[in-house]
């Protein structure tokens, strides 16, 4: 009946990660204790205490988590199991844990939880495991233990205010470049830069100019076709992404969101419309604004899915010919559990596609892609963890494929990253697209 000892998983020691290894090497038990207790005392309070003391150890949250389901119901991957291995231990030992404990804690909180909040819908008490895991990440950040790759993006955020080390001139160049390209198709097309007083500030994540410039192209086509009065800034602040939110570097998160909002204010726009990214939406709409003490974002924020919904509903985009391959839809956590856009998304999909096949579970209950919450950004070392940790997604997609779906629409960059790897690894021959891809294909375009 004694407490089952927490077995050190040898998993984290197998992965070589300089960010972790060097960070751990710098730690001493004294430093750990001091930092942990300082952070807990300064930053946590009623929520942490109440969540820990209310949890009745019933395990009902387990089946919410794709990691748990994908690892043959291994309790170490259950939501409360992760809290047991981290927060409970830390509190029980009053912060007196060794560096290797921190290594495991970092692995669990940053690579075995996507902060997807599905478990909050399965725990009868609504205990916010994602919040508890964020606390662990924050502790690791304060101890200087963060996976190298995601830390690099955080450094980029702090040096350039964007996630991908995109320089200011590169950014402006990319916009010009995409504008020129698109003008071949629509000669009157413009990507208005720095147009003060526009209706809309269209913001994207840095990977778009870096790797997926065609998304900017497509967005420009959609905006122009719909006659939307939009602009994009020439200054830092154009990037809405935020890996600092995920590493626990909240000071930096605050700076990023401040710049983003201030850019919108400077351009005197009425609202921010964001590209198809989930985590960025979480940062702008839910987390970052709170750090800045804004209950709701100081300027309205519209996610692409909702924006497309408006355009279609108001007839601003006309469909030339509906997409004819059978599609299914991946509900991204951050805009479904994060903003309830599931019905609007279905309206958009129905408007664009001839045949829509639901995957199960769906809407609020959809499984996470296992890439979000910064997990994909922890780097290639953790790729197999993500893939193995989401076998259940492969099964879910396979079942949907069996029912006829050939194309997956996922309006989120993280979902794309995660699902791409899953499709490849599990040999699921399905196409993967953004909503923008489909709209671009099926819409009536001006000439």
């Amino acid at each position: 009946m004694a407490e089952p000892a927490i077995k050190r998983s040898d998993e984290s020691s197998k992965i070589v990660d300089e960010g972790i290894d060097k960070g751990i090497a710098r730690l001493t038990p004294e430093k750990i204790e001091q930092v942990i207790n300082k952070v807990l005392a300064a930053e946590t309070g009623a929520r942490l205490k109440t969540y820990v003391e209310t949890c009745v150890h019933c395990g009902l949250c387990s089946e919410a988590c794709h990691y748990y389901l994908s690892h043959d119901n291994d309790p170490k991957f259950s939501p409360a199991g992760k809290v047991k291995q981290t927060i409970w231990e830390i509190l029980k030992r009053k912060g007196k844990v060794d560096p290797e404990f921190i290594r495991d804690a970092s692995r669990i909180a940053s690579t075995e939880c996507n902060l997807c909040r599905r478990c909050a819908m399965y725990c009868p008490f609504g205990i916010d495991i994602a919040y508890l895991m964020s606390v662990v990440r924050r502790l690791c950040h304060m101890l200087g233990v963060t996976q190298l790759y995601i830390q690099d993006t955080a450094h980029s955020h702090s040096a350039t205010l964007n996630q991908m080390w995109v320089k200011e001139d590169e950014w402006i160049d990319t916009l010009f470049w995409q504008e020129e390209e698109a003008q071949d198709e629509i000669s009157s097309l413009r990507i208005p830069i720095e147009k003060e007083g526009s209706e809309i500030f269209y913001s994207v994540i840095a990977p778009e100019p870096k790797f997926r410039a065609q998304l900017i192209y497509q967005a420009a086509v959609i905006m122009n076709a719909a006659g939307v009065d939009f602009t994009m800034p020439a200054t830092p602040g154009w990037d809405n992404s935020d890996q600092c939110m995920f590493t626990g570097d909240y000071e930096m998160m605050g700076r990023l969101k401040k710049v983003h909002f201030e850019t919108a204010m400077r351009l005197k726009v009425k609202r921010i419309v964001m590209g198809e990214c989930g985590h960025a939406f979480r940062s702008v709409y839910d987390v970052g604004n709170r750090w800045l003490a804004w209950k709701m974002p100081p300027i309205p924020v519209t996610h692409a899915v909702e924006f497309y919904y408006e355009l279609l509903k108001q007839g601003k985009i006309k469909i030339a010919k509906k997409y004819d391959k059978p599609v299914t839809f991946q509900d991204p956590c951050n805009i479904i559990r994060g903003k309830g856009l599931h019905e609007k998304a279905r309206y958009v999909v129905d408007a664009l596609c001839e045949e829509f096949i639901e995957m199960h579970p769906n809407r609020e209950h959809n499984y996470c892609c296992c890439a979000g919450g910064g997990v994909i950004n922890t780097g290639p070392q953790y790729k197999m963890k993500r893939i193995k940790g989401n076998r259940i997604k492969a099964e879910q997609l396979f079942a949907t494929k069996t029912r006829g779906a050939k194309v997956i629409i996922a309006p989120c960059h993280n979902c794309h990253g995660g699902i791409e790897d899953i499709l490849h690894h599990y040999g699921l021959d399905m196409e993967l697209h953004f909503l923008g891809d489909i709209i671009y294909k099926v819409m009536e375009k001006p000439v």
């Binding site: 089952p4 930053e43 209310t54 949890c55 009902l60 259950s78 819908m121």
Partner: protein
């Protein structure tokens, strides 16, 4: 025997009720104060409408996806919880004691019904115990305190049932019953049984976040 009886059914009852109500109040207030100090935005986001909406779904059997997914568990836990709250309040033997000391009384359940329900509660406790031992995901989370809590909750029912049926040593068992009931009451504010007090707040807060900010359901 008389001295012991008078003591456990007199002063000790007072003590347990004071601990229960005082302790619960203390826990609530200290949570509220701490939240005001450290998680002040909780007050901003708490929404009566959406909080209640979520709570309502969760306190209705099969009102949530989770409850529907585990029908056996749902039936057991709802019967268990309803019984555990209603039996002590609506048991005639208890009401008689209230009547004797405070001249107050209310509707009561028939003794035969309670007798059956007491067995149901004991069986539920066994169900929870077995679950704790058998299911890996529950076992992993289990510590000694979980068994202790379960015992604390089961004890008044086992001893009450015993006393009612006048099995061997029922006089002593009656005394033990009263003490067990008092222990249970007094331990609510200071063990995980506090979930009874905190449930409306944790669930209500998650319901508010999901409902008011995120426009999604959390059930």
């Amino acid at each position: 025997m008389h001295d012991i009886y008078n003591f456990v059914s007199g002063p000790l009852v007072w003590v347990s009720f004071v601990i229960f109500f005082g302790g619960s109040l203390y826990r609530l207030i200290s949570m509220a104060v701490l939240a005001r100090k450290k998680d002040v935005f909780v007050y901003e986001y708490m929404s009566l409408k959406f909080g209640l909406r979520s709570i309502l779904h969760w306190i209705i059997p099969f009102g949530t996806v989770k409850w529907r997914k585990n029908p056996l568990f749902t039936i057991v836990t709802f019967t268990f919880h309803v019984c555990i709250i209603f039996i002590p309040i609506f048991l005639s033997a208890h009401i008689i004691l209230w009547k004797e000391s405070w001249d107050i009384s209310w509707w009561y359940i028939s003794d035969t019904t309670v007798d059956i329900l007491a067995v149901v509660v004991i069986a539920s406790c066994i169900f929870f115990l077995v679950r704790r031992i058998v299911l890996p995901e529950v076992k992993y989370l289990t510590s000694v305190s979980d068994y202790v809590i379960l015992a604390i909750v089961a004890a008044p029912f086992i001893t009450g049932f015993w006393t009612y049926h006048q099995w061997a040593g029922f006089r002593v068992m009656g005394i033990i019953h009263i003490i067990a009931g008092e222990i249970m009451l007094a331990s609510i504010p200071f063990t995980r049984l506090i979930h009874m007090i905190f449930f409306p707040f944790t669930r209500g807060y998650m319901g508010s976040e999901f409902g008011a900010i995120r426009h999604a359901k959390d059930w």
